[in-house]
């Protein structure tokens, strides 16, 4: 159907988007790679020349690197586990016949629309403050000593805040997937005497497999780069300095651009490994 004429028109129509994204990707990326091979301290002498792989070695061998990788993995892993498990349970519950389903769905989805700085600050102050927070009131009510959440239990606190933000996303996607399940299949299994657990394990869960994979991959990409939640709560203290936050500190706080850029290249490689898996799934589903 497409003629030579319409093909070249199509190319022209695509050009602005392609050129812009190409520039957006290549220009900063090239600069980051160049900086990563330099000793570059804007506030202390500027560009001090090439240093080879020095920054890469120093970034990895600094005492802050492994703890930051660990913090990143704990947060990503913790949030994924919570959102997927509770997301499946919530989707199962919301898929049942009930009164006011639409309203409940709205209540469950709402946290996703709250900007990260708001949710982090509200949780930090109104819930987790050791003196005036709601949790402190609750603890005192039961005669327990209030906990200073963000310093004594910093990781679980951050994981809780981020999970609250992402649970709606997981739930919504899993619920959408659940609704495409053929109910006759479930009814047939029920008539054949399959227990609810068996029906879940053999029919529902396999059906959700792909949706769960998509949830895990998309969330991983976003979770690897969470920033505001840490910026307004702990500022990277108490063991919550993630790889993203460490690079941010190297670049903007200590203005060590070379070192920060080397870290940036590591982060880009890490994100690309995850992205490669996601692309395979998305690509399979794409029939052009």
């Amino acid at each position: 159907m497409a003629t030579q004429h319409s093909r070249s028109a199509a190319r022209i129509m695509m050009a602005p988007a392609v050129i812009l994204l190409l520039g957006w990707m290549l220009v900063p990326l090239t600069m980051t790679v160049i900086f990563s091979f330099k000793k570059y301290l804007p506030l202390r002498g500027g560009d001090l020349g090439w240093v080879g792989f020095d920054n890469y070695v120093r970034f990895v061998s600094s005492s802050t690197f492994w703890p930051s990788v660990q913090a990143t993995l704990v947060i990503v892993g913790g949030v994924l586990a919570i959102t997927v498990v509770f997301g499946v349970l919530l989707a199962l519950l919301l898929d049942q016949p009930m009164w006011g389903q639409g309203v409940v769905r709205i209540l469950v989805i709402a946290p996703f629309f709250v900007m990260p700085t708001v949710s982090a600050l509200v949780w930090k102050n109104i819930f987790m403050d050791p003196v005036n927070g709601l949790f402190a009131h609750l603890w005192k009510f039961f005669g327990a000593e209030p906990i200073s959440w963000l310093s004594e239990a910093s990781m679980p606190s951050i994981i809780l805040i981020v999970s609250w933000q992402w649970l709606p996303f997981a739930t919504l996607i899993l619920l959408t997937a659940m609704q495409s399940l053929d109910s006759e299949q479930l009814e047939a299994a029920e008539m054949d005497g399959a227990s609810p657990l068996a029906r879940f394990g053999y029919i529902v869960l396999p059906h959700l497999g792909r949706a769960i994979t998509v949830v895990v991959l998309i969330q991983t990409i976003f979770l690897l780069s969470i920033f505001a939640e840490i910026f307004v709560t702990t500022q990277g203290a108490f063991g919550t300095r993630t790889l993203t936050y460490l690079i941010f500190q190297r670049v903007l706080e200590s203005q060590n651009i070379g070192l920060g850029s080397a870290g940036g290249v590591y982060a880009i490689i890490l994100a690309n490994i995850v992205a490669a898996f996601l692309m395979r799934i998305v690509g399979k589903n794409l029939d052009t």
């Binding site: 990326l29 600069m31 629309f113 900007m115 700085t117 996607i173 792909r210 780069s225 941010f248």
Partner: protein, 276 residues
Amino acid sequence: MARSVTPQRKAINTIAAWAVGLVIFFPILWTILTSFKTEAQAINDPPLFLFFDWTLENYAVVQERSNYMRFLWNSIIIAGGSTVLGIIIAVPAAWSMAFVPSKRTKDILLWMLSTKMLPAVGVLYPIYLIFIRMGLLDSRAGLVIVLMLINLPIIVWMLYTYFKEIPGEILEAARMDGASLKEEILYVLTPMAIPGIASTLLLNIILAWNEAFWTLNLTAAQAAPLTAFIASYSSPEGLFYAKLSAASTMAIAPILILGWFSQKQLVRGLTFGAVK
């Protein structure tokens, strides 16, 4: 899955689901309630749920002290501007990929998506440097450009999946009936494309509104949107829960309302068509 169940079962479902829903929604509800309390009531022990002297004072104070309207205006310009600009650039691209697909269309789509995966922090300094050189630091124009670029892949993808659903036969029929290209676009395609464009607009305004890496790192006093406005409450002085709540409520209310309208598009837009 519409199954018939006993009324008892339905009642149990209802109670369980509402309980869970309210627990998840509680932080938002509590923030909204706290915004109507006085500072003393906001930290009262035991916490006050509904029986307190409702006041609008906090909203007035927040507006007066921090000039909320300017941050709101910045958010509107940045979120709205970046989305509209993105759509103007993405519509022709998505259009041609949906209606004149070539062998490379799939690769281009996936490549666009891959630019979205680039971790922002990896290119923080180059962008920062470019912004300084071009005088874009702390300007709304700069943020409009950056947020347009980071959301462009999602915009192209969403539009593409919507355009894909417009049947090509209709175009051929219009052409055979003697419609010119202009008529074809104006009277046949546009009406069918508008719902998809509207959904894309909605979801991307939400994403841009809540974006909190570039908006925090590339703005100061002039161009700061609501994300930065709220972050400025992170080092409190004195009593401030009620004011923090009022500021938070004002920052999330517009998007919460938009979000509720867009929940159906959310899944499609954020999974790039992998889950429908």
